[in-house]
């Protein structure tokens, strides 16, 4: 019983186990799956989503939501693209994305905190505004054919470890540190758990919300930098509905949309599980058009299992108290 609770009571371990099982299954089905090259590809394809999901996990923990991150990613990517075209030094190219991203995150936070607009409405509105802004900034054409000056920022390996993995580990470690060990983490969870109670006990609600949206913006900006480094172009559709992917990953990871809980490692394994499945199915010959179906069914399946498990746990508790 104890080992079971240890393994299944903690979402990140369950998901890590699921990742291992999925990897083994696909390994038997396709010789191309479990190769260093393929795993690196999966990781490289996940890095932007990994960063954004970390931010979304913070936002969900405060009982907020952000639909607009895809639009923000597009805007940041345009500025990164321009700074490369303009021949700016590497430092500017690196920092402009996170800077703009943080600014956009603070706009969301201002509407939510000062304007007292429910997060879903504020960010839904901003999503539309950002999409139009992307179109305006790009003037209807794409930024394409950028020189490969940023290739090193995504393709280098350090001691055999892809540099993108290092980015992810650094940001997730920081996120985990904040949530688990810093007073800020307590404030974030308290805000999401019961905002009124948190305010009455002296938690700076406004400050906390500004932090989570700003921090997410920073991550989105850095993701935009990596996006441009990888694809070397920016289209009007860049970013798209990545917000929905990120919400799915966070929820799979055990973070509640109702707030009060944040599972940082869970979000990471949530993204990896989705990406492993998508990649594996393609390798065994399922057309990539099924990607969305796989994601949706996975989410619903996990939610239903979760609800049933919780129900049987409650029943067991009732029996025990009787």
């Amino acid at each position: 019983m104890n080992w079971r609770r240890w393994l299944f009571g903690r979402r990140e371990l369950t998901l890590a186990l699921a990742c291992v099982v999925v990897t083994l299954i696909f390994h038997f089905l396709s010789p191309y799956f479990l190769t260093a090259e393929n795993l690196t590809t999966i990781l490289r394809n996940s890095v932007e989503l990994l960063l954004i999901s970390l931010g979304i996990t913070f936002i969900l923990a405060t009982a907020g939501i952000d639909i607009a991150v895809g639009g923000a990613l597009g805007i940041c990517a345009i500025f990164v693209g321009w700074s490369i075209q303009g021949g700016w030094p590497f430092g500017v190219v690196l920092l402009i994305g996170p800077l703009i991203g943080t600014g956009l995150g603070l706009i969301s936070a201002t509407l939510i905190v000062q304007g007292k607009i429910p997060p879903i409405i504020a960010t839904l509105g901003l999503f539309g505004v950002y999409r139009a802004a992307i179109f305006l900034l790009l003037g209807g054409s794409w930024i394409s054919g950028l020189p490969d000056t940023l290739g090193a920022a995504v393709n280098t390996t350090i001691a055999g470890i892809p540099i993108t993995a290092i980015y992810v580990v650094v940001f997730y470690a920081a996120g985990w540190l904040i949530i688990r060990w810093l007073p800020l983490g307590v404030a974030i969870r308290a805000t999401g758990g019961n905002e009124r109670a948190a305010r009455l006990s002296g938690v700076g609600i406004a400050r906390t919300k500004f932090f989570v949206y700003g921090f997410t913006g920073l991550l989105v900006g850095f993701a935009a930098f990596l996006y441009v480094a990888r694809y070397r172009n920016v289209e009007t559709s860049t970013g798209g509905l990545v917000a929905l992917d990120a919400i799915i990953a966070s929820v799979l990871g055990g973070t509640s949309v109702l707030g009060g809980k944040a599972n940082i490692l869970g979000a990471m394994f949530g993204v990896l599980l989705v990406r492993l499945l998508q990649n594996g199915f393609v390798l065994i010959g399922v057309p990539s058009l099924w990607e969305q179906v796989i994601t949706g069914v996975l989410l619903i399946g996990v939610l239903i299992l979760d609800a049933l498990a919780e129900r049987s746990a409650n029943d067991a508790q009732v029996v025990a108290t009787q």
Binding site: G115, I117, P118, L124, G125, A132, F135, G140, V293, G296
Partner: protein, 316 residues
Amino acid sequence: MIAAIKQIRFSGLLALWFIALVVFALRAPAFFTVANFTSVLQFSTLLALVTLGQTLVILSGGGGIDLSVGGIVSLSGLVIASLLKAGMPGFAATLAGVVFGGVLGGINGSIITRLRLLPLIVTLGTYYAYNGLALALTGGAPISGLPASFGLLGQSEILTIPLHTVVLVAPIFLLLLFTLNQTPLGRWIYAVGSNEKTARLVGLPVDRIRLGVYISSGVLGALAGLVADSWLLSARPNIGDNLELLSLTAALLGGTSIFGGSGGISGSLVAVLFFTSLQVGLQMLNINSIWQLGLVGLFLIGSVLLDRLIRTAQTK
């Protein structure tokens, strides 16, 4: 006081629509013509049907939202088209498609009410599942070449008003308006939305009412799919794209509270006509339709901010 706010909101939206109409009329002489009036209505039907469903879902509270509705439109449209291609008569295929849409909505509703899961997350999952299925099953290609006789609903007009506006949108709107305001069922939807706990205590079948609104949203989505099929004589796997965000925005801009229990479908319908006028007008001025999305986003934020300001001013 609350009635006053609603009145201000509603007239504000009407004024906004009126301003848009005047601006377009001044800038594009062809805007204020009968033909253009027809085309605004023609374009508005899909969003109108979906927004009516979305409004019911939001009104019923409990965090009600239906993100999957665009997928329902696409998928039901495909079902109707493939049944027609298989030789089924138009009426039977339509009926099957509408039932199918109801089932898709019922899946949302059952998972949400039985397992007490959040609508946002459940319909996010089915958003991926339904949209994904529509793409995957067709390989992304439309089902085209439907019999020309099937175009009756989508392409003909009565006195310059599109047939589907006359036989679908208007009657459904009036039926829902009557149901919401004049029948116990309608008042129950508001009651469940404004205070779930009290509604349960007085014995309202909260879960059945909520299941019902999700099924209605599915049925309305399928009707939108039907109109699209009949209009284009083909079923596109992505015809419902963006309808979830647009319908959500229209419902909220129309004055329905995201927390449920207050608002209504009249505001939603005006918001839909406003959106469509923007879309058609911008097209006439050769301005990219992406601006519609941007303007609508601004208006959405602006309207909620204004709402707050009026409310604070009145409480002072």
